[in-house]
Symmetry: D2
Subunit: 341 residues, 4 copies
């Protein structure tokens, strides 16, 4: 069975695992207040070119989203996002469980534009009854998006400016950040991205770690008692080192970028295999997630030999599916898939 189900189907990148093995016997204090976590944070700050940034490690994407959003929003505020956004659809209502509304806006190509946000804000502000409504307090986007699309530097700058104008904080879900930044289609660097938002996270789980997301507050303005709030939500690990060690490995010698670049290359080879054989794309993604449309017959045949996710069922009976690559995707695996097509 060829696994393309997701970018979390294997364990950790060997160098990440090696670092866990090496540091296993070191005695350290708990809760992430150890020197290995400190070292990892420093490497992340260096990669962001932001020595004053605050960094906090959490275990997964949904957890990072709910901890950050609920820590930053005020009681009467909600979070704006694209209708296809992960927090709006696939997190079992995690944000609402913390008491806040997700204000989902129609999106184009799974992205939220500065114009859409500005138009929504103008309508909100003009509404004489808005004291009876949920106030928007934050904009949430993903880079890349659920459909593998990318915000350009111009788009992100416009969004950032719009957020400034309306007093909204801008939060970037970077569960697959490496796959976004390493895409040839991306014109943003990590330091640039970090300067165009209020908070973001660097995904580890989907980029070579066993678990772990590094939340970054570029301006060094992590909310007071952020760790206490994480604890309150069950998000603080006793052996916080587990997260620090992995990020230390990922941000040593550019491993994070190497993993990301490798996965993108495999994804492009995979896309070429489909396109060259005439398979239509559901979305033309420049990142590690590829979306292809299959006929029911193609679907049935492929499913016998490969694992992938059903993404959408089209009204004409065809099926949109997702193939995902990662650090563990080999050229041999792509070749084997190509043979199946």
């Amino acid at each position: 069975m060829l696994y393309f189900l997701s970018d979390y189907t294997e364990g950790a990148h060997p160098q990440v695992l090696a670092r866990l093995n090496q540091t296993n016997l070191v005695s350290l204090p708990g809760y992430g207040e150890d020197e290995l976590c400190a070292a990892a944070k420093d490497k992340i700050r260096a990669a962001c070119e932001l020595p004053g940034a605050d960094v906090y490690f959490l275990t997964g994407g949904t957890q990072a989203n709910l901890v950050v959003i609920s820590a930053l929003l005020r009681r009467w505020e909600g979070v704006l996002c694209a209708q296809t956004g992960h927090i709006a659809v696939h997190e079992a209502g995690a944000v609402e469980f913390t008491g806040h509304k997700v204000l989902a806006l129609p999106s184009e190509d799974s992205k939220l534009s500065a114009q859409a946000v500005a138009a929504w804000m103008e309508r909100f502000l003009a509404d004489e009854t808005h004291d009876h409504m949920v106030f928007p307090g934050m904009v949430y986007i993903s880079q890349p998006t659920e459909l593998g699309a990318l915000y350009s530097k111009a788009e992100l700058s416009a969004l950032h400016e719009t957020c400034r104008k309306y007093g909204l904080r801008l939060f970037i879900d970077g569960a697959r950040l490496g796959y976004g930044l390493m895409s040839p289609a991306c014109d943003l660097t990590l330091p640039e991205l970090a300067r165009l938002c209020d908070v973001f996270y660097i995904g580890g789980t989907k980029v070579g770690a066993l678990c772990g997301e590094a939340v970054v507050f570029p301006a060094g303005d992590m909310p007071r008692q952020f760790a206490t709030m994480a604890k309150q939500q069950g998000a603080m690990l006793a052996k916080g080192r587990l997260l620090g060690v992995q990020f230390d490995a990922l941000f040593t010698d550019g491993l994070y970028w190497e993993i990301s670049r490798h996965a993108i290359e495999q994804a492009m080879a995979l896309k070429a295999a489909f396109v060259s054989r005439g398979y239509p794309l559901y979305a033309d993604s420049p990142t590690n997630q590829q979306f292809v449309i299959l006929t029911p017959e193609q679907f049935e045949r492929l499913r016998r030999h490969a694992a992938f996710e059903v993404w959408d069922k089209l009204t004409d009976g065809r099926i949109a599916v997702r193939f995902v690559t990662s650090w563990s995707t080999t050229p041999e695996k792509i070749a084997a898939l190509a043979e199946l097509l």
Copy 2:
């Protein structure tokens, strides 16, 4: 100034107030566990032709919505409603504050159709990832809707059947229920409506009371410790009699229906005054809320003499406004308005 701002711009209907005056000195236990509340509940059961129904009094519409929804939903469930639904827009995120997502569906004419619910449910059930999503547990509708529209008996029956089929509870917000049921355009009676849902409320605040909504569980299956949960949300009055006495008056000698019928008649006269003078309607409402489109000049002129609500700003610069009638709207007031037009 001619007041058409809402149906809560004056105090209570004189007969409601009279009953408060009459019973003022009677000594009674607190928290609604008194004989006046019991009498009012009996009258409501009789009006519903449901001797086994459970009835509980709350003070207002948003409160009724959040108390009922959060009492009935399970932890992982959300509530389906029309995108224009009150809980989705104008309750400051009250449902989300209790931890539950409002799943807003596109609506036609501010109503939610059985087909729309069924189609949504089929998509949800077919989605292989739905364990990571908010489960729909309830359908919320208003009769009449935010835009004064009415569900017909056929529409409500279809919705009720669809809810049964998919295991969804059906909740009807009846903040303006009298104005719905007394509309000549309505083919539903109270007993019929009560049999086509799992829980609904009979609005008092907007139909002649100072405050108060009567929540009805037609099948007599009010959730266990419902009063405790209301208390937990600050929704239990020490002098619960205040609500019982008012509903006792409203459901004596058909006062509730008389108030409603009167307001509908005034609303129809008001609509005629606009239509006969060529004012276009924003929505053709058969109930006590009327929606008219004004030019900026008309708007400015009218606003000097009448109070009404801005509903929507059209792209061509015209303004949709809302005029509302109630028990206190006199034919003289309508005539004075007509003169202004």
Copy 3:
């Protein structure tokens, strides 16, 4: 049946009801944004001698407690109170339902002392693990307390100073404030009390109104979007006038104080009736709640003719009970009770 069950067993004081009758037909905007509410707020500011105070009307005590506490506390904070405090025992977990812990401290005589708070704070601050604990953010007390006890000016001043020292806000539940301030045993005036806390409320429900509590922020620092948060908790009345009109009546010509003084006088007569006949007191209350210890025989006999609340069951089989007076308690009623003893 002689009713001494509580101070909410009858309707409104006749002058309060009269004002509701008088203003019933005045057309006003909703949600408490009307001139009658504005007038009532001004009268309350005058009574507090604080022209810059913010005032907001809510319907009941539990509601006021949960709205104020959840609006003022930060995400990681809880509220300190006496173990016997209403929020700790008799509000069905309303504060916890908003996500905050009630930190109950042992109390003496149902009061919380400045020393107890200071000692608790010192232990908290000295605890090296306190980032894993709930931070205290507020002190909640009642004046008078659940057992009718009063804080003296010296006690309240000490508490206020302690709160300042440790960065705690001080919140006074004044559901029975009139009965506290009008007690001959009380050395505090309303203006003094208002200057010794951050927020308090003036109870209406138990002091002559049908419903209503006036929340006062003496420094004029009501949290931003307080009304939106109240709406979010179902605590905003459409006919907000209902609360304003009643407080307008209560704060016209000293009615609030007159009602309170009357109830205290009746309570003292009631206490004397018990004490002179040798009934032991469970607590020696100088306010409108009286606590007496009855033998089972006395209890059974009295219960046939009078309504009162069981407060505590003593280990020796005797029963502590509570008798409460209000504006509606007449000397005749006290005399009739005395005869029963």
Copy 4:
């Protein structure tokens, strides 16, 4: 520096890490729905001698507590525990953040007795106002307790019976379960414990894993959509295998018990080292946590060479401290500490 700070100061037991290394490249579905998690669950069922039990993996103790408690309690219920219980003190109000009150009872020796629970329940049921109070829905205990104490089979049986009698579910926090069950002072086996409660968890984080707790529902009655609720709280790992693999290793060839037994032996040697030198114990613990009282001089001297936690500051100036052993505590480390004393 000799580390005795906690049982989470090193990484994973070498055999646990080895298993992570071995399985690293196996391709598996996400979210714990893989064959390695299934195998681990089977081994846990076998260890419990309960083939029908439900098992679910979570990452840490606070997370397990809040996910389990909030999934099992009904809206109006709270959880009873000892005043010293972890959920009452050291989880930053995590249970309250999910909306539920922690009802803390005075405890003896950090344990909750069946009698204390029964007495509390009788008082609650006899209280005529209990519909206005938080209903107890669950009893939470730890085995061993915060102070290393153990419930005997007789004590746990009595508690279990009392819970049955009053309709309370019994939940055992087993963050250190191995250290409890392997203590020579313990007369309970895992299968026996599993039959004397409704839900418990087997701690991995503190017993040799990097992270992970195995929640067990002995009767196979895990709440519906438990995984959805865990997701909603950010508690579901994408690479769920991380937890399954570790528990697979821990429950292969009795590793979990071997780790536990080793730590207990070291703890007893550590206790002997203190006691034989005349150091008084703060609590006489038969498990892997040891509590000793130090003079300020002893404290200062020891702190230079050893890491341990300050537990309590005694009024006479002395300091109670905690030393903890684990799989990684060697006899050499104990000997080195003994030398320091």
